[in-house]
């Protein structure tokens, strides 16, 4: 809870078991929270995709053996930026740089290896920290884009 952190205007902390149905919960809840900033519908969709991918990874890769705790922290900074952090205490990642490469997956045939690539694409900044056996923390930031003049 970030009531008093300097630079943070509002924040929500969430915890839930890594059940597939909670991917949708996290996606929607972060979108509800994000709607207090000036995001367009398309930007909100990008945020939803990024959250889905990060939480799906915790479900599928973080806890392959069964449900474990997923923690999502979302905040809105005074500067109008959305910060989303998805953390698990699961398997962790051996080589983070490799994991972030497009099409890299430890489950070839079954998955496409595009999740982290999409997050990187849709967020302004992505940070992944992980230790094998200890878990993974994915943090991404996104600001509403200054309104572009729409092509009629």
């Amino acid at each position: 809870m970030d009531t008093g952190t300097p630079g943070v205007k509002n924040s929500v902390h969430m915890e839930f078991p890594s059940l597939p149905e909670n991917v949708g919960f996290a996606r929607a809840s972060v979108a509800f929270f994000a709607s207090q900033l000036d995001f367009t519908l398309d930007e909100l969709d990008e945020i939803k995709v990024a959250v889905s991918e990060a939480v799906s990874n915790a479900v599928v890769h973080g806890y392959p053996q069964g449900p474990g705790p997923v923690v999502v922290d979302v905040s809105a900074t005074e500067a109008g930026e959305l910060v989303v952090q998805v953390a698990d205490r699961g398997t962790g990642i051996e080589d983070v740089e490799q994991a972030c490469q497009t099409s890299f997956t430890t489950r070839p045939g079954e998955r496409l290896g595009l999740g982290l690539t999409f997050i990187k694409e849709y967020a302004d900044r992505l940070e992944v920290t992980s230790r094998p056996g200890e878990g993974t923390v994915v943090t991404f930031r996104k600001r509403p884009q200054p309104a572009a003049v729409s092509q009629g």
């Binding site: 996606r27 709607s35 003049v149």
Partner: protein, 77 residues
């Protein structure tokens, strides 16, 4: 992302109640009207204000007409 929207609109196997669909439909209509009026993409907040609905209700309704857990890597098949 325009493609994503289309994908989401066209792939909606789950039943969504009439009234959620109505809110979502109105939100998309208002969005188009605002794009027209101001020649730029409105924020969700502006759409909700225009509809006189809580922001979250608009987001909820739009989420309801979408659904897939993960566009690219569904957990379930």
């Amino acid at each position: 992302i325009g493609e994503i929207r289309r994908y989401l609109r066209d792939n909606n196997p789950i039943r969504v109640s009439r009234s959620l669909r109505d809110v979502a439909y109105k939100a998309l209509q208002v969005r188009d009207a605002l794009v027209h009026r101001y020649a730029r993409e409105p924020s969700v907040r502006q759409i909700a204000d225009e509809l006189n609905l809580p922001r979250e209700d608009v987001v909820f309704a739009l989420d309801a007409i979408q659904e897939p857990i993960s566009l690219f890597e569904p957990i379930y098949h």
